[in-house]
Symmetry: C3
Subunit: 343 residues, 3 copies
Amino acid sequence: MKTNPGRFFEDYRLGEMIVHAVPRTVSGGERALYHALYPARGALYSSDEFARGMGLAGAPVDDLVAFHVVFGKTVPDISLNAVANLGYAEGRWRQPVYPGDTLRSQSTVIGLKENSNGKSGVVWVRTEGLNQRGEVVLDYVRWVMVRKNRLDVPAPDPVVPPLAKAVAPEALAIPEGLDFSGYDFALAGEPHRWGDYALGEQIDHVDGVTIEEAEHMLATRLWQNTAKVHFDATFRDNGKRLIYGGHIISLARALSFNGLANAQMIVALNGGAHANPCFAGDTVKAWSEVLDRAETNAPGVGAIRLRTVAVKQGAAPFALRGEDGKYVPEVLLDLDYWALMPV
Amino acid sequence: MKTNPGRFFEDYRLGEMIVHAVPRTVSGGERALYHALYPARGALYSSDEFARGMGLAGAPVDDLVAFHVVFGKTVPDISLNAVANLGYAEGRWRQPVYPGDTLRSQSTVIGLKENSNGKSGVVWVRTEGLNQRGEVVLDYVRWVMVRKNRLDVPAPDPVVPPLAKAVAPEALAIPEGLDFSGYDFALAGEPHRWGDYALGEQIDHVDGVTIEEAEHMLATRLWQNTAKVHFDATFRDNGKRLIYGGHIISLARALSFNGLANAQMIVALNGGAHANPCFAGDTVKAWSEVLDRAETNAPGVGAIRLRTVAVKQGAAPFALRGEDGKYVPEVLLDLDYWALMPV
Amino acid sequence: MKTNPGRFFEDYRLGEMIVHAVPRTVSGGERALYHALYPARGALYSSDEFARGMGLAGAPVDDLVAFHVVFGKTVPDISLNAVANLGYAEGRWRQPVYPGDTLRSQSTVIGLKENSNGKSGVVWVRTEGLNQRGEVVLDYVRWVMVRKNRLDVPAPDPVVPPLAKAVAPEALAIPEGLDFSGYDFALAGEPHRWGDYALGEQIDHVDGVTIEEAEHMLATRLWQNTAKVHFDATFRDNGKRLIYGGHIISLARALSFNGLANAQMIVALNGGAHANPCFAGDTVKAWSEVLDRAETNAPGVGAIRLRTVAVKQGAAPFALRGEDGKYVPEVLLDLDYWALMPV
C-alpha cells in the first residue's frame, strides 16, 4: 500500500517524536493571499515600513499564517483519523516568520488515554514549528480524539499531561528588538492603547463575512492541510464540506481589528474550542472580551489576554454558553490568547 | 466605544486632512493575485523584461492595484456611511508602484454641501497615495453622498470645488525614462499603434466574464476595503452582496486588452460613474470609445483618452444611455481615462 | 477590426513560426497561488531548503506552472477557434523555472491536415517556452482541430508529423546539479523509492476535491488563458463553464502525492487526453499506473513513467476505458509522463 492511511490510536507511543512532511517556504505570495482571504488589517503585518518602525526587520507573515502552516503539516500524522479536535494549550509564538523563511513541523506524543469504550482514545502532542535555522518559531499542545483500528491492541497506561490554563505573562516571548514607543496610532487605525482596555470589557467587532466554498478550500490547501472533510463534498452524508477550524480562527482574528486594531501580535494561545461546525453560506461575526493584562520588558509594549469568539448569523449579542454551560449553537469558536499592544 | 462607526456628514471640516490607516507593502503576491482575479494581459505589467525594455525598472503592479490600495484605505474614513459614490475627477498616476513599495493614503476635504433635505450631504475629497519615500504615486478627487447623524448640526457653508472635465494632456505625468521607441508589438499582443485609433472609434472587446462571490470578495479584501455591503449577505434586505465598483473597473480594463492591448499605462482618471449595481452571477463585457488623443514628450509615447464601459448580459451593442439621458440598466460602469500607447 | 478573432484552419502555413504575446514574470505569488489552487505538496516545489539539498538553486515553481504559463500564451493564436484539443506528445521540461524568471512562448506549425468534410482541419504545433535568457524551458507538440472560416480556400497538402509514443529515457533532461543521494524521505512525506514501484502497479490516490467555479477561473486567468468557454456562462447553451483541461491536470498531479510523493519532477509529457469535460460541482479523484522505469546519470535519480488518470464522482476503481475501447464517462484525463524519483 503506497498511500497514507493515517495513524490510529494504537499507533502512537508516549514520548515518540514524529517528523511531519513537506517543509514550506513562505513569500510575499502567502502574505498577499492571507490579505485576500481574510479582512486582515494589522499594520505590523501589512507594511514593511510600519514594522521597521517597531524594531522588526520588516512585516512578518501573520502569526496565524505561521500557525496554519505548522498545523497543516501535522494533519496527515495526527488528525487524519481524528473524530474530534479537542483543544489547544500552551501555545507560544517564539519569533516572527518572514517571507523567505522555510517552516517544518515535528510533534512529540506527551499524553495517551484510551476511552472506556475501547474504540478510540485521546492523543496529546506538543508540536513545534521550526525555521530553516532550526529555531522554534511556534510551539503548542493539541489533543485530539482518534479512532482505534485494531481493537484488540491493549490500552496504554493512561497519561494525561498537566497543562497550564494560560501561558504565564512572564513566559511570553517578545520578538527581539520590538519597541512600540514610537507607535503611530493614526496609521495603525485606532487610538486605543493597552491602558484603555479594562478587564472584563466586551467588544462587538460589528463586521461580518459570508463564507464561500472556494475561499475556505483555497485557504486550507494553502496550508497543505489534507483533511478530506474540507475538500470532498461526497465525503460526508449531507454533501457539505466542513470548514477548517483555522479558517474561522483567522476570520475572527481579522474581524477583531475593528476595536482591537492595536492588539498587533499574537504571542500565546492559551486555549481554543471549535464549538460548532461551520459551512459555506454562514456569515461569521466576532466579539472579544478582555481577560487579563500584563506589562512586558519591551519598550512601550503591553500584553493583553483576550477571548475572541466567532459566531454565525442569528447569534445573540456576546453569545457564548447556554444555561446548561454548553456553547450555544451559533458559537463557532472560543479562542483565548495573548497579544501585544502599545501601552 | 472601541469600534469605528465611520464619519457622518457633520463630522467633516473643509480643509481638514485625514490620514488613513494601515499602510501596505505590495509584492509579487499582489501582482499574481491581480492576474488571477482579472484577465489582465498588459505586457508592461506582466513581464519584468518587457518593462525594462520600455525604460522602467521592472514590471510595476497594475495601475489599478495602486488605485485600489489607495482607495481601500479611505473607505473607513470617507465612505463607511456613504449612500452613494458620486464621481471621480482629476485623477493622476504620478509614478509606477513596484513590488516592495509601501503605500499609504491621505485625503483633504475640498468641498461640502448639505442636501436640501437636511439628512445628508456631499463631501468632496482629494486623496493622495504616497509611497515609502513620501512621494505621491496617485491622487484623485472623489465625491460621495454621506448620511448626517446629528440632524441638528447646522449646515456648513456650501463649497463646491471647481473640477476639470478631463486632465489636460500637458498635465499627464509620464513615468521617468519611459521610451516606447523599441516597442515589441508581437509580444504585446496587437499591432495597433496610437495613430491607428480614430477619434470616436468604438471597440467591442468581445470577451465576457461571469462573476463569482468568492472572486469579488477576495479582490475587495485584498485592497483592505471594509465596506460591509461587499462581504455580508445578511446586511442587505435582498441577501445579495454588492460588488465593489473597483472590481468592475478592473474587469473592464482587463477585458479591454482585446482591442486595446497597447493602451499600456493608465495615467489619468478623468471621470467615472458606477451606473448600476453588479451582483455575483452577472456576466461582464466591455466596450470602449476613443475620446481624444495627444502627443507627449516621451520617445515613442502617445496619449489616448478612452471611455471604457462595462455592461452586463443583455446589453445592446455599445449600450450607454437611454433617450432620457440616463444610463440603461445593463450599464455597470462608464470610465473616462488617459492611457499611454506606442505611436 | 481591432480585436483578435483568432486563427482559422486556412490561416496556418506549414513551417510558420508564431510568436505568442504577453511574456510573464513569475514570482512567489504564482507559487503561493498554485498551492492555494491545488493540493500540491511536492517538497522540492514547496521548500527552498529541500530543493537546495537536492542540488537546485531553490524551489522552482511547479513544472505545471511552467506548462500552464507557456500553454496559456498559445491559446489566442492556436486554440481560440479550436473545436477539440486532440493530444500532446514529445513534451520535455528542459530546465526548472524559478521565481523571477520571465517566460514567453512560440510555436512552429509542423503538421496540417484538412478534414474530409472541408469544414475544419487538424493543426500540429511544436510549442517552445523560453526564459529571459532565451533558453528553452519546455517544449511539446500539441494538435487541435480548428474550424475553417473561408470554406473555399483549397486544402493544404496533408502533412502528419511522426510523433514518438513516449519520450525515450535517454532524451530526458535532468536539471543540472540534481542529486537525490541525500534525499530526506521523512520530510518528503513517503518512504517509497523508485525501486519500490513495480511495472503495472496501480495506485488509488484516495483523496478527492470538489471544484468550485471561482477556483478554476482564478487558475485559468492566472495562466492568461483566454478561451471564452472557461469564463463566460452565457457562452455555452447549457450555461455551464467548461473547466480548463490544465486545471484537471494540476489537480490530478497534486492528488497523486498520496502514493507518489517522491515522484518529484515532471520531465516529460508523453501524451494526454482530456477524455470528458469537467464542470464545477464535480469531485475529482485520481489513480496512477506505473508504465515504465529507467535509470539516469544523475546521482540517486531514477525516472518513472506514469499514467495518471483523473476521474469524477461515480467512477469505478481504476476506471479507464469501456469494452468499446472508449473512455468511460467518469474519466476526465489520461496523462502519460515521466517523473524523477530517488532510487
